[in-house]
């Protein structure tokens, strides 16, 4: 890690790393402690602007917006984490197998991936959610599946490139098994490409969750998430209470900025 910081004067990486660490730390803190109960309603402080008691103000139900953002960002990050986990793991497996072995299966799977990528991912997820119904678990599953192709393509391209290199041919001549070659000889060398992709994947997953909850097909009403809050905050803008949307939007923006910078930094390191 020290090496990373010292080398190349990589400002993108440094800024992204610090921003992401701070945001993740705040979100983790929100899981164990929030200033108020995020769901507690208090009619006496309905729809207030930022005050000393409520740093980011309150919503129409008198709920503390800071507490809700902490809680909601946690839910959003959790969803994003599992979405990227599903997408990256399955995508890597598919990409590795198809890239290494090629053949008919490769053709078929890649054309399916092309077909899936041809549609906007949120649209696909919307259709799937319309069929199986909303809820946190369903959102994770659906978005995870939608995220598989992008990872699969990246990993496949790397495998196709690396498997033609001499050291792989040599390894094969020495009688090293296919799976050992894939796991020990190729996979570690895909990391410089895979890591930025994961970081950008996080980015997209946060946005996708926010968009879906914003459209009312994400998490359920009794749950909090950034997209859900952004959707609620719409009604406040016209009524002269814009801070709600601003704070929620700012949180999403900062999260995404952190991941983007991180991805950019990781790419430059290559």
């Amino acid at each position: 890690m020290k090496k990373l910081f010292a080398k190349h004067n990589n400002w993108f990486f440094k800024a992204g790393f610090i921003l992401t660490t701070v945001m993740v730390f705040i979100v983790l803190l929100g899981q164990v402690w929030t200033p108020y109960d995020p769901n507690a309603m208090d009619a006496s402080v309905k729809a207030q602007g930022p005050t000393l008691r409520h740093l980011l103000g309150t919503d129409f139900f008198g709920r503390d917006i800071l507490s809700r953002i902490l809680e909601g960002a946690g839910a959003t990050l959790q969803i994003a984490f599992f979405v990227v986990l599903i997408g990256a793991v399955l995508g890597t497996v598919i990409g590795a197998l198809t890239g290494y072995f090629g053949g008919v299966v490769d053709e078929v799977l890649m054309r399916i991936c092309d077909a899936i990528t041809a549609f906007p991912s949120v649209l696909l997820a919307l259709i799937a959610i319309a069929v199986i119904g909303p809820g946190r678990l369903n959102v994770i599953m659906v978005l995870g599946c939608v995220f598989i192709p992008s990872f699969a393509r990246i990993v496949r391209a790397e495998f196709v490139r690396i498997k033609r290199l001499n050291y792989i041919s040599l390894a094969r001549l020495q009688g090293v098994g296919d799976f050992r070659i894939m796991l020990k000889h190729i996979l570690p060398n895909t990391l410089p490409t895979l890591l930025p992709a994961i970081s950008i994947g996080f980015n997209n997953a946060v946005l996708a969750e926010a968009s879906m909850s914003f459209l009312g097909v994400g998490v359920s009403a009794s749950e909090v998430s950034l997209g859900r809050m952004l959707s609620d905050s719409q009604n406040y803008i016209l009524r002269g209470l814009p801070w709600y949307a601003v704070f929620v939007g700012l949180t999403i923006a900062l999260l995404i900025l952190g991941f983007s910078l991180l991805a950019e930094g990781l790419q430059q390191r290559r």
């Binding site: 009312g216 359920s220 009794s222 002269g240």
Partner: protein, 500 residues
């Protein structure tokens, strides 16, 4: 510096253009004696008086169609296309004297034959099952001179409420779906799907003619867009707004408060555990704080209920039931302990996702129930899912929704609790309730009937059939220069008395 001045001038120009246009829009409408009304949904695909499936369509077309009698803003039935009626002593024969020289919008003169035609068409075609059910009870309908005689198979003391909903249409006119023709104060001009509907004053109207010369209904399916258009001055009248939507409107508008004429409740499935125990249901009533709910969701606006009748339906509303279960967490806990749930229980409240007032109420209730140890989760479902699973399938523990009255009768609100009713979503079963309802529907003496319906409504409160919450507040934004808009006790919009 020069650039800056140019920029400022440009900004000023745009600003003044925007202001000027806005003003002239509203002023031009005033000069032309017309208004723009914002509505939240498109009309049904058919505008025929017997095919209008949505309340939003009936609300608009109330200005175009009329029945023999017409409901007024107090809920009374006033003579319209009939001048008078008589009922035989056995309550079976209704004789209507048909008004003379009434013209349809297409110029034809209305005859008793048109009335007979309309009743027959309505009985066979109507999409409103309540009206259809009542008309199936009609044995014969005949025209005799200037009179129409309707014979019923069995007495129905609510018959007049339905007469006002059977709109009269010219016999052998076949274009009702697209070019509706009625006798109302306004005639239909045109319709652009998903955009607008235009009606204009009917100058040959039999009664007091409308004041406005033209009304355009603008369709905004997105609530935010509707409020934005209103704010910007491109609409003159919008109904069914909530307290937050009217908060920021300027002095160009008068805000009139009304209620939605809905029975909003936390409906409990009396057939499943633990809600089959009356003590659990009563505990929920005690655990819920309706006053706090009103403050949180609507800034204190709205009318408390206590039973399945809303207050503006004053004939049957019993104000003493409103506070039958004053908020008390201790009492709720005590009842839960008696019922065998000293530590509360888990429950799911289903709310239809497209009705944000119901979803908001569900969220507040879930929060309030926590104090009594009940852990409620809110689950949003789509409207169609709600209809199939909750309303028809009765697969639910509790749901927040609102029931309205399709006609101004006690049966429209209370009939759904009879143990034999197909609409008995809650699965409420009470012998005394059934007995009151049966007796009320078998007699014609109005005072006695009212008493029996009130007793039936009290049964619902005593048994805590559901947690009855409120008739939601709603607001109408009316341009300050407009006068004469009045609310009806039904979901209707009467524009005939509106004037600049």
């Amino acid at each position: 510096m020069k650039k800056l001045i140019c920029l400022l001038l440009a900004a000023l120009m745009i600003f003044s253009c925007a202001c000027g246009k806005q003003k002239s829009g509203a002023d031009a409408r005033k000069d032309a004696n017309e208004i723009y009304v914002g509505i939240g949904q498109d009309l049904s695909s058919s505008l025929s008086p017997y095919q209008m499936s949505s309340a939003g369509t009936r609300e608009v077309m109330f200005n175009v169609f009329e029945g023999l009698y017409k409901v007024d803003s107090t809920g009374d039935f006033k003579p319209a296309l009939a001048t008078a009626y008589t009922v035989s002593d056995d309550g079976l024969t209704y004789t209507f004297t048909i008004r003379e020289n009434v013209k349809f919008h297409n110029g034809a003169v209305m005859t008793p034959d048109d009335v007979v035609y309309s009743y027959k068409t309505c009985a066979s075609d109507s999409v409103d099952s309540a009206i259809k059910g009542v008309l199936e009870n009609v044995e014969s309908i005949t025209a005799e001179g200037g009179k129409v005689i309707i014979k019923l198979a069995s007495p129905n003391s609510d018959f007049m409420a339905y007469v006002s909903s059977v709109y009269i249409s010219p016999a052998s006119y076949t274009d009702q779906d697209t070019k509706p023709v009625g006798t109302g104060p306004f005639s239909f001009v045109s319709r652009t799907v998903q955009d607008s509907v235009v009606i204009k004053r009917f100058d040959d109207y039999w009664g007091e003619k409308a004041k406005l010369s033209q009304v355009t209904f603008k369709i905004f399916e997105n609530a935010t867009a509707l409020v934005t258009a209103l704010d910007a001055g491109s609409l003159d009248l919008v109904l069914h707004l909530d307290s937050t939507q009217v908060q920021g409107l300027g002095k160009d508008f008068n805000i009139q408060e009304d209620t939605m004429k809905l029975v909003q409740a936390l409906y409990l499935n009396n057939a499943v555990k633990p809600f089959d125990d009356v003590r659990v249901r009563q505990a929920l009533c005690y655990a819920v704080d309706v006053d706090a709910l009103l403050t949180l969701t609507a800034g204190g606006h709205g009318a408390k209920l206590g039973t399945a009748i809303y207050p503006s339906f004053s004939k049957y509303f019993d104000a003493s039931l409103v506070n039958a279960y004053p908020h008390s967490t201790d009492k709720a806990k005590e009842l839960l302990t008696q019922a065998g749930y000293p530590n509360g229980f888990d429950m799911t409240i289903i709310a239809p996702s497209n009705y944000s007032p119901h979803v908001n109420t569900a969220m507040v209730l879930a929060e309030q129930l926590k104090a009594a140890g009940i852990n409620a989760t809110v689950k949003e479902v789509e409207w169609n899912t709600w209809l199939t699973d909750v309303y028809k399938g009765r697969k639910f523990e509790a749901t927040v929704c609102g029931f309205d009255a399709s006609t101004l009768t006690a049966n429209a609100l209370l009939g759904r609790y009879e143990s034999t009713s197909g609409k008995n979503m809650c699965g409420y079963v009470s012998e005394s309730f059934d007995a009151y309802m049966k007796e009320a529907n078998s007699i014609t003496d109005d005072a006695k009937r009212t008493e029996l319906f009130r007793a039936a409504a009290k049964c619902l409160s005593d048994d805590a059939a559901s947690v009855y919450l409120q008739d939601l507040a709603e607001f109408a934004a009316v341009r300050a220069t407009l006068k004469g808009y009045v609310f009806y006790p039904l979901y209707l919009m009467d524009l005939s008395k509106v004037t600049y």
